[in-house]
């Protein structure tokens, strides 16, 4: 699958731009703050209905304007797919596929798989469990639409239950009968989500371990373990027993929203004991495993977005990535870099249809050498 062109209107720093892409490699150059990442974010919007950076749509409207539009023509399995995303302030975001608007945006997720490698991926290692859940949830959602529905329902019931706990705290009383509908739903959804998460990890891990071995060339063994309260022998009973603490804390602290994925190197936590190099290898391997598991499940190569990674990776890891580009293992590639000469040097020996673009003064110019 690939993206043929992109049109932005009043999206972030772009008043109105149109770009035609190469089916293989696309490079965007520009100084810091020129809007390279915004361009990748627009592609992220078209594939996954939202920004990779900031969740609020209103932050992406050009300063002083009322709306933004993102349009793109994709081709997937020889079918043209034209996606249009419009956001108008104080209105609901609308996304349509081939002119037909979606009733639920979640229906779009998974149609156009995408993998983004970006500088803040390091949060997955150094940040809280939320970052890791976000990564795995995003991946499972793109491969299993039922999972996304379960997750949406879970989060909604959780919000309602927490609002209820807050109210009980204010009124200084607890009514178990009112909590029961939520408890029942949360327990059964927790179990269903847990099973899907566990099954996905089993499928995902071999891909990950293979890539880690190839990239690091080192002998340490890696592991990812899925930690969840659902594993406890009697989950529904434990859930019921945690009510007292829930009332005290005014929020639900038991359930799959507390799951975590522990990354380990030779049985030691990566966060504490991994070197910078090991952490980078770990991250790239997670993302490459994501790419190849999507490719296997979807039967098409996902778009691969590399945001400013030449700056963050060393030669060895760049070589590993580029070797895969050269062997045509990836599909369409979008790369941003503040230093044109570096990217051109890296891509020079690769036989691929490569297009260079320079971003300046909120415009995107195709390089003449193209």
């Amino acid at each position: 699958m690939h993206l043929k062109n992109l049109e932005l209107i009043q999206f972030k720093n772009y008043p109105k731009v149109q770009v035609e892409f190469s089916e293989e490699v696309n490079c965007f150059f520009g100084e810091n703050g020129a809007g390279k990442t915004n361009l990748l974010d627009a592609i992220h919007y078209l594939c996954l209905t939202r920004s990779a950076l900031l969740p609020l749509d209103s932050y992406h409207v050009m300063h002083g304007k009322e709306f933004f539009t993102i349009k793109g023509d994709f081709e997937s399995h020889q079918q043209p797919l034209s996606v249009n995303c419009v956001f108008e302030s104080s209105k609901k975001k609308r996304i349509s596929l081939n002119g037909k608007p979606y009733q639920r945006l979640s229906e779009h997720i998974g149609l156009l798989p995408l993998v983004l490698i970006a500088p803040d991926d390091t949060l997955m290692i150094n940040g809280g469990s939320e970052e890791r859940r976000k990564f795995f949830d995003g991946m499972i959602s793109q491969t299993d639409s039922h999972y996304l529905q379960l997750l949406i329902r879970y989060q909604h019931y959780l919000k309602q239950r927490n609002a209820l706990l807050k109210r009980f705290a204010e009124e200084k009383r607890t009514d178990k009968a009112q909590l029961l509908p939520y408890d029942t739903q949360l327990v059964s959804l927790s179990q269903a989500i847990f099973e899907k998460r566990a099954a996905f990890l089993t499928e995902f891990f071999p891909y990950f371990a293979d890539h880690y071995r190839a990239i690091s060339g080192e002998k340490e063994s890696v592991s990812i373990s899925h930690e969840s309260q659902v594993r406890k022998d009697n989950f529904s009973q434990s859930f019921a027993q945690s009510l007292e603490r829930d009332v005290l804390l005014k929020r639900t602290h038991f359930g799959i929203h507390k799951d975590d994925y522990l990354f380990r190197l030779d049985k030691h936590p990566l966060k504490k004991f991994g070197s910078q190099g090991q952490k980078k290898s770990f991250l790239i391997s997670l993302k490459l495993a994501q790419f190849f598991i999507f490719k296997m499940i979807k039967g098409t190569k996902p778009l691969l977005l590399l945001d400013d990674i030449f700056d963050k990776l060393d030669d060895r890891r760049i070589f590993h990535l580029m070797d895969r580009v050269a062997r045509k293992e990836f599909g369409q590639l979008f790369i941003t870099d503040a230093r044109p000469e570096r990217s051109k040097e890296i891509l020079r020996n690769i036989q691929a249809d490569t297009r260079y673009f320079t971003i300046k003064n909120n415009r995107i110019l195709a390089d003449e050498s193209n």
């Binding site: 009733q103 529905q149 019931y157 309602q160 109210r167 009968a177 009112q178 029961l180 029942t184 739903q185």
Partner: protein, 206 residues
Amino acid sequence: MNFSSKLIENAVTEISRLPGIGKKTALRLTLHLLKQKAPVTSALTEALIKLRNEIRYCAICHNVADKEVCSICESTKRDKSLICVVEDLPDVLALENTNQYSGLYHVLGGVISPIQGIGPDEINIASLMQRILHPPSGTPVEEVILALPATMEGDTTSFFITRKLKDHGVGVSTIARGIPVGSELEYTDEITLGRSILSRIKYSAE
């Protein structure tokens, strides 16, 4: 919008408060009313004032009523052993228009949603329990039909009511959910289709 008359401006402002009516439509309606003979306009205003002052809500089911008890609860032709629980007034009208139901109703006036500050005490659940335990007509209630919206809040409310009724020997059912009549499977959304295959029913060829 600038009006040469303060009177027109007032009328436009008031009319444009109605749902689905903007300033332009409000102006068109105002000018239309001005062109009519005086009694036409006063008939409208009188109807509105009367509506506001004299409308009542049925003491039993909370439906709109002209008297203390609504015409449905009062009717001798309705099956008083059946109560259909709905979220709001338009739902009663929708069900009545099907001509397929001859029991009574109970209008909750909302569904449980703690995020919006709506708990069981904010909607008419206590009065539902009351009329089931002590039927005003004397006829015992045999079945409660839950006809609440197919949303998570609707489901939560249904669950809550079902639990409350558990030990009172009343049957509880819920309206079927599935594919609209006359529509194609391929255009039905996945969740509805999934639900309808799970809760499939026996086909009768009699």
